[in-house]
């Protein structure tokens, strides 16, 4: 997947944060929810259609300690998972 793509969160999906910085993503259309660790919450908030995947990876490296060497793989996997669930996508530009 190209690092230049700018993923964007599905605005229907709800981020429910808790006191310990963990959170859940809740899809009101299906009732499904799944848990996010603090790093995933940080990434979710950057899915605004303005940050490329490369930007997001850079932000993770800047803001967290002990970031693993293969952070790119983890970030891409996480975003792909969100896209497969319908929780995120890419902005689509109409031709012409």
């Amino acid at each position: 997947m190209s690092d230049d793509l700018k993923p964007i969160a599905n605005p229907t999906v709800v981020l429910r944060e808790e006191f310990d910085d963990w959170a859940i993503l809740f899809d009101p259309d299906t009732g499904n929810a799944f848990g996010l660790n603090p790093t995933s919450v940080f990434i979710w908030k950057l899915l605004d259609g303005r940050h490329t995947i490369r930007d997001i990876i850079n932000e993770v490296q800047k803001n967290f300690e002990e970031v693993p060497d293969d952070v790119e793989v983890h970030v891409n996997e996480f975003i792909n998972d969100l896209i497969e669930r319908g929780y995120a996508g890419y902005e689509w530009k109409q031709e012409g």
Binding site: L15, R16, E17, F19, F26, D29
Partner: protein, 370 residues
């Protein structure tokens, strides 16, 4: 149980008006029982706040929610604000159009319809003539449109001997996946009609035994958070712990009977926030005037109710010398309030020792074995 940053769900009494006057309704006696509905615009504003607070679901009750002429618009407001919803209803106003609308939202978790009998005579004895037929029709409309429908059976003196027929009717004839049970509690209109409505210790014993047996027969399709089925399970566990000399059982020995205030909050029909619809006398603030987040995280009265679970049963004269003290949870604070005027007290209605002293008996515990 940990406190959530914002409530996960909200119970909203969307109206106090109702087309029925069931003799054990928990309403029509509280400070919030006003006869004027809050305008829908007020609810829309509040739903926007719920959206910002990431609340996941709303339960609409009443009164009778379908009595509100603008209920569809209110539900649209919930959907617009990224939430799901459930409805508690008497079922009599659910038409084909209502069921079709609910299905079209794609956000309805459940509609809970009250059914108290297997035949009209029993159901209508306390709910009014013709209402069994209407409620059953309502359920069929919901089923026809694939709306998840559940049934609540309120057990009282007129239907306690009919539980077997009720289970057969609901689970076999109506084809429901399950139903839940409670018994008429000493609240609202039931307080005036307690003699006619509330189970005697003997009837309570029959209800416990019958429901535990039926639940086994129907593979766990009968549920209960309160009332004879829940009591039967809990009290048998407490009796076994006493006999085996266990030091305690989880949650026992303190006022841990209800954890609802850690995950949800309620709003009366007049827009006043309360810890629970059954504790409508504890006013925490007003929607669209007071911030939900401030109330949820900082209201001293709400925090006091949450601290209830730290209160040991050994501090009550009522519990002195009780063999079950380390296994008991004190049960429902709202019921403690309606019976003795103090929610920081064990509910006398849920006292196993008192039940046995009044001639009640526990079922044979082998009934719990698979």
């Amino acid at each position: 149980m940990r406190l959530m940053k914002t409530p996960k769900s909200i119970d909203i009494e969307i109206t106090n008006r109702c087309n029925l006057r069931c003799r054990y309704c928990s309403h029509f006696s509280s400070p919030g029982d006003v006869d004027r509905d809050l305008p829908k615009e007020e609810w829309f504003r509040f739903f926007e706040e719920l959206n910002r607070c990431a609340v996941m679901s709303v339960t609409l009750s009443g009164g009778e929610p379908f009595f509100r002429e603008d209920l569809f618009e209110i539900i649209d407001g919930i959907v617009r604000n990224r939430m799901r919803f459930s409805i508690l209803t008497n079922g009599t106003l659910i038409t084909e159009d209502v069921a079709r609308f609910l299905a079209s939202t794609g956000r309805c978790d459940s509609v809970q319809v009250s059914i108290d009998g297997s035949i009209p005579t029993t159901h209508d004895s306390f709910r009014g003539e013709g209402n069994f037929r209407k409620a059953v029709e309502g359920i069929k409309h919901l089923q026809g449109h694939g709306v998840p429908v559940t049934v609540r059976v309120t057990i009282h003196r007129q239907n306690v001997m009919e539980l077997e027929d009720i289970a057969r009717f609901l689970l076999e004839e109506m084809g429901l996946p399950g139903f839940s049970t409670n018994s008429a509690s000493y609240m609202g209109l039931c307080r005036k009609n307690a003699e006619q409505v509330q189970l005697t210790p003997e009837e309570r014993s029959v209800a416990m035994e019958t429901l535990l047996r039926l639940n086994r027969k129907y593979n766990g399709r009968i549920s209960a958070a309160a009332g004879p089925l829940a009591e039967g399970r809990r009290w048998l566990m407490m009796e076994r712990a006493r006999r085996e000399g266990k030091r305690e059982i989880p949650g026992g020995g303190y006022l841990t009977g209800c954890g609802g205030v850690m995950t949800k909050i309620a709003v009366r029909a007049d827009g006043v926030m309360v810890p629970c619809g059954q504790m409508a006398h504890i006013e925490l603030g007003r929607i669209n005037r007071d911030s939900l987040l401030d109330v949820w995280q900082g209201h001293p009265e709400l925090n006091r109710i949450r601290q209830r679970r730290m209160v040991p049963l050994s501090s009550f004269d009522f519990c002195r010398g009780c063999e079950y003290i380390n296994y008991c949870t004190g049960n429902c604070p709202a019921l403690a309030y309606t019976i003795i005027g103090d929610e920081f007290h064990p509910s006398p209605d849920a006292c196993l020792r008192a039940f046995l002293q009044k001639g009640g008996r526990l079922p044979d515990e082998r009934i719990l074995e698979a």
